[in-house]
């Protein structure tokens, strides 16, 4: 099992993909993972513009994630 990373709207444009699976050997802070993972590099410079969710709940960027979690990078909403 891996942690699932989903990218929506502008965040998928920056990443040039909609989903990325990463196997986490142990739980890790999300920001630490972003800072130290090449595949997540494109999102790094935009992180202050985004909300993040873990398993459908908005969380702080310093939250801990683990294998099996679903993490989503959410630009400002524009529904309605």
């Amino acid at each position: 099992m891996a942690a699932k990373f989903l990218f929506f709207a502008q965040s998928s444009d920056w990443m040039k993909l909609k989903r990325l699976d990463i196997i986490l050997k142990e739980p890790i802070q999300l920001l630490e993972l972003i800072n130290n993972t090449n595949e997540l590099k494109p999102i790094k410079e935009y992180i202050n513009c985004l909300k993040v969710s873990i398993n459908h709940s908005i969380v702080n960027i310093n939250s801990t994630i683990k294998d099996g979690d679903e993490v989503a990078f959410l630009p400002p909403f524009s529904g309605g």
């Binding site: 929506f8 709207a9 969710s53 989503a72 909403f77 524009s78 529904g79 309605g80």
Partner: protein, 125 residues
Amino acid sequence: MKFITAGKLPTLEYAAKKVKSDKYGAIVTFSGTIRGTEKEQTIESISYESYNEMAEKELKKIVLEIKKTFNVSIFLKHKIGKIPVGEASLIVASAGVHRRETFLACEKVIDEIKAKVPIWKVKFE
């Protein structure tokens, strides 16, 4: 009930029927439609994307909270995918005892959707 659809939105008449009750004296319906301009550019359509599972959960929370706060009944549907100018992306119906809380509830639903639901306009054509 699913709040998000990629298919055709129901009519406002259908939405009003879903909230109508003998205990209510007011029904408010709202249709959010696609305008023909975006940042002063003429457009023909807007495409919407959603994080479906999370959006459905957030919409359910919003509806439950507003029903409780205003003592109203709420029906809403949000369309995703490509929507041409003039067509609706969102319909909301609220019903309450009096018009004051019914109008307020309808407006609050829309405000909450814009603030809390992971749905995005992703393409302007």
